[in-house]
Amino acid sequence: MAVIFRNFKENILRLGPLILLVYICISEVHTQFYYWEIFSFNLQFIIIYYWILRDPSILGYGFIFLCGLFNDVILSLPLATSAMSYLFVSLVAAYVRNATVRSSLFTDWFTFVVAILIGNFIYFFLINNFSDANIKYDGIFYNSLFTFILYPAFWGLFELYKKLIFVRANA
């Protein structure tokens, strides 16, 4: 019984990032946090990039794809727009993981710029060409900027969380 309970706790801990991603995609939580007119950031990009880069066993590509579909329905975007954007962010993360031998906060942080650019380019391209919606370019710019700036803070938090999972698994 104790073993089952311990495994259950471990599994819940490992599912934490996925639960957070699904929840912010599907709930009313404003993931594009809008305060003081310009401050906003994209938490989904940060979660996907960090976990695919640092520990891909935590976040499956299939779940990322599903979260993208949920997000499109909630935000009334053409279906699979967010899914494609998230998958390309995952692709950059997976590439960086394969190409680098030893990663640090700074390598992760600066390669994250490429992920943000590609992720947002996919949004731009699909919405501009296949949808009637207008895009607020300055809003997207500030959103990308703050997503980039805040990455180290979330990197620190997720590192702590990863250590917690590791400690629990080896206890």
């Binding site: 599907i26 329905v73 699979a80 494609m84 919405i127 607020k136 809003g139």
Partner: protein
Amino acid sequence: MSTSRDDFGIAIRSALLQRGAKQKFSLFVLILVSIFIFALDNANLKPINFLRSLINDGIYRISAISSSPIKFSGATKDFFVKQVFVYKENERLKFELDQLKKNNLNSLYLKTENDTLQNVLKLKKDSPYTLVNAKVILDKGSPYLNSVIINKGSNSGIKLGMPVLNQGFLAGRIVEVNFTSSRILLLNDLNSRIPVVVSPNGFQAILSGVGKKEPTLQYLPENFELSDKENLIFTSGKDGVLFPGIAVGQVVVGENEVSAKLFSDPDQIFFVSVALDQAKDEVAR
């Protein structure tokens, strides 16, 4: 040079095709599936639209349920904040009560007079529109669309383009209809364009959302001047979709632009009424 290109190729191929121990699908397959779904959604086929409606309804409900803890925590926070300020509020309410008691006698007289006049005119107190009341179930911010979702859809007679009223004032229009839910595009959204008329001078304009709280008035005539009276904005009905004469807001003249202070605050929409039809009764109109 060719070695680095080879390295890039190997790394990107590995990222695209590798599944690893825990990954059930490769990125390449999922990107292909996404492109396929995107193409199907854009094809605008009837069966696909029907399917999307069903999916939308399901996900909106799940989303509304999953958002309830956030709404509950917000309500709890408001409750505690109110408790903290209860003493001050009590003092203010006592003062207001005294004022209201004084005004009450005057109001009673005016109400009686009003009732009498209405009886004389045989004025009907009905709304000039056939309305369906609905509750906002989801309000999620997005950089692409400023919209809310309500709990009524085509099963209540709602159709695309119908005007949505909040406390009698225009709040937006319907841009997506499912069976049991609909999406309202708010007036301050970047994609919102509403033909309006500025009263009392009768200038025609387009009320355009700019992503901020106050939309702007575009295409005003060059000789546009504000009247000394209240400059109110009403729908003109020129698009043939919205009914004319729905109150929208008040003109605000800024340094470089003329904008509108909306009567219906886009951040405070909880219950709305969708105007299905204009009443046939000429008196009510």
